[in-house]
């Protein structure tokens, strides 16, 4: 390549650099409004999480206004694509350049863990609206969680299963961190209640083919198959489960609510009907608060809210109420004001534990049914509840 071309290339690079770098420099740091840094995966595999939470946050602001304690509130939304080092860089920029009072979002666990030391160092409260691994709240004293923990819902279904005639079970989880968590807690709770775990199976996270594992299940003939899969694989799994006639052979399908995610449930079809699962939120939860929430949500968006959305909605509630209490101040005071909040969420009664900063909530046992009163769509219909479940991952 000759000199002219190299110079052109260099000039192009530097011109782009100058143009783009000039832009953020032009914005001065504002002393007036309170800024909330919302980092969500808007692209990539977890994009539906970002979409749901963004919609919920917008709904909250539309319903509650954008003024708190006499000051303007600004939500700065950034896309991290669920890549942890991007999250970390965005969080750093939000803290250092935009001087946010609080960080929120965190679509998957590694993104929260990557940001932990930043929050601690800068004394910025971080509200976890989606990620579900127990250890997150222990990674930094500035974490508050409004989503759920996987152990919370896993021990609930294990408990229910043992007390409802299921003696032998097999667990099937996706081969990654949350899956290992689900497997561990299901195993310990189920055996504690006197049940027997015949086998612990795993499927690869990407391009799963359930044929081999379903064959193993068919061979072992348990009373129930406990499943944890990321939302998106649930439908394919249930179809193959039914295709092999396993549902007719007396093996009950139990799961955590991630498999029957409200976001996808309507499209899953007949195979989902009858699946018993445990989770902290159903769009069909029969409380007044939830009916209003779902109605407003569906009016503003073309999809129904799921547990991610309610995590975002409640996260905003926690932030707003805390800001009111501290009159707009951030830092440690804001964190203290977030701890110990008790309120009625669309999901039910909720408490932010003051010691663990984690969420304490009711976990419902639901069954998937067609609900004539709600457009004859599929919903998770609650029939049992375990009240005020603390995260068992911390009880140790």
């Amino acid at each position: 390549m000759n000199l002219c071309e190299r110079l052109s290339r260099a000039a192009l690079g530097l011109a782009v650099a100058a143009a783009a770098l000039a832009a953020p420099l032009a914005q001065a740091a504002d002393a007036g409004p309170i800024k909330i840094g919302l980092i969500l995966p808007m692209t990539g595999q977890s994009a539906s999480t970002g979409r749901q939470i963004e919609a919920a946050v917008k709904l909250w602001v539309a319903q509650n206004g954008n003024k708190v304690a006499g000051r303007q509130v600004e939500v700065i939304l950034k896309d991290d694509g669920a890549v942890p080092d991007t999250t970390r860089r965005l969080a750093q920029e939000l803290i250092v350049n935009d001087k946010v009072a609080v960080l929120a979002g965190f679509g998957i666990t590694p993104t929260a863990l990557a940001t932990a030391p930043l929050g601690t160092q800068s004394k910025t409260p971080m509200v976890v609206m989606a990620a579900a691994t127990s250890s997150i709240t222990q990674a930094s004293p500035y974490f508050i969680r409004t989503s759920f923990t996987l152990p919370q819902v896993t021990v609930s279904i294990a408990d229910w299963a043992a007390k409802n005639g299921i003696k032998k079970a097999i667990s099937l989880v996706a081969d990654y961190g949350p899956g290992f968590d689900a497997e561990k807690f299901f195993d310990s709770q189920f055996r504690l209640d006197g049940g027997q775990v015949l086998d612990k199976l795993r499927t690869p996270l990407r391009s799963p083919d359930f044929a081999p594992v379903l064959q193993k299940v068919a061979d072992a003939k348990p009373d129930a198959l406990f499943v944890f899969l990321p939302s998106g694989q649930g439908a394919t799994f249930m179809k193959q489960f039914a295709e092999r006639g396993l549902d007719k052979s007396g093996v009950r399908l139990i799961a955590t609510g991630d498999v029957t995610d409200d976001d996808q449930l309507a499209d899953m079809g007949e195979v989902a009907i009858g699946v018993v699962n445990s989770h902290h939120y159903s769009a069909a939860h029969p409380s007044e608060a939830n009916k209003k929430f779902v109605k407003a949500f569906e009016a503003a968006n073309k999809f129904r809210p799921n547990f991610m959305a309610v995590g975002g909605y409640d996260g905003m509630r926690v932030i707003y109420k805390a800001l009111e209490a501290t009159k707009g101040e951030g830092g440690e005071k804001l964190l203290e004001a977030m701890k110990g909040q008790i309120f009625e969420s669309p999901r039910g009664p909720v408490l932010i534990d003051a010691q663990t900063r984690d969420i304490v909530q009711d976990v419902y046992i639901r069954k998937v049914e067609r609900v004539p009163a709600m457009g004859n769509q599929l919903y998770n219909v609650e029939f049992d509840v375990i009240k005020q479940v603390k995260d068992p991952g911390k009880a140790k």
Partner: protein, 287 residues
């Protein structure tokens, strides 16, 4: 055990139909088309949308998926792909990656990023048991359809004039065009059929493999393995490679779940190490 074999064969046949277009394109035009999965995805989405939104029956959707993906190929080949044949492989890789990004995000934008589900007709659901083998009806359907296609392709290749022209063009395009064959037309026809087959594979696979916008990226590696291991000079090569891959994958996950995905990748690397031109390629072939 035999059920597993059956499942592996079904998976392998599906992979074959999906990847055969890529193998032929690679062998014929020496073009590494990483965007092949996008045609499969197109076929899958055509099926899903027609079935779910317009209520078109499943069996009717299959030829429509073939035609739709084929048309897409017919549109892209003369306009975009043809310019890239003579380019170095790096350019081709980048070009097709760019197309994949466009396809993936466009589908995400138009349809959304959720998994798509279809309901196959009742006579394809469930299974029946013969001796020790559980035969899933849908998988049997896949095997039958794909076997028919494989036989048809082999017949076309070996028994028809088009087939012999195609083989000539694969062996040496310059001499072929020197003999008066319209190589461009052959390329176009092959590309269209290859893309159509991918679309058909995507439609068949929607039920078994799942369908979402990241489909081309997730399965690209498998298509490439089929081509690399099977070689690109025959139909039977990719067929055997796909079957091998499908069976190894399924068996591996049953018997050695801890190793799971390793088996496939390691097997591929070992095969390529020993025979870089592919396991089933004809010795002395040009590539």
């Amino acid at each position: 055990m035999l059920t597993l074999l059956f499942d592996g064969v079904a998976y392998g046949m599906l992979l074959f139909v999906l990847a055969v277009g890529l193998a032929v394109t690679l062998g014929l035009m020496n073009f590494i088309n990483l965007a092949h999965g996008a045609f499969a995805m197109a076929g899958g989405y055509i099926t899903v949308l027609l079935m779910n939104r317009a209520g078109v029956p499943f069996l009717a959707c299959l030829p429509l998926a073939f035609i739709g993906a084929g048309l897409l190929g017919a549109a892209l080949e003369p306009t975009l792909y043809r310019r890239m044949y003579a380019r170095p492989h790096l350019d081709q890789v980048l070009f097709s990656i760019g197309l994949v990004f466009m396809a993936v995000t466009a589908v995400d934008y138009v349809v959304g990023s959720m998994q798509q589900n279809i309901q196959v007709p009742a006579w394809l659901q469930g299974r029946f048991d013969i001796a020790w083998v559980g035969i899933g009806r849908y998988r049997l359907f896949i095997i039958v359809v794909c076997a028919v296609l494989a036989l048809a392709m082999q017949w076309v290749l070996v028994r028809t004039r088009f087939g012999s022209r195609l083989r000539a063009a694969v062996d040496d395009p310059r001499v072929a065009s020197g003999l008066g064959l319209n190589v461009n037309r052959i390329f176009l026809a092959t590309f269209v059929v290859g893309s159509g087959l991918a679309g058909l594979g995507g439609a068949l696979g929607a039920e078994v493999l799942g369908l979402d916008p990241s489909f081309p990226l997730k399965f690209m590696i498998y298509f490439l393995i089929v081509c690399a291991v099977g070689g690109t000079t025959t139909i039977t090569g990719p067929l055997l490679a796909a079957l091998l891959l499908g069976i190894a994958d399924v068996m591996g996950k049953y018997y050695v779940p801890k190793l799971g995905a390793f088996i496939v990748y390691t097997l591929m690397i070992l095969i390529l190490l020993v025979r870089p031109q592919g396991l089933f390629a004809r010795a002395g072939a040009a590539r």
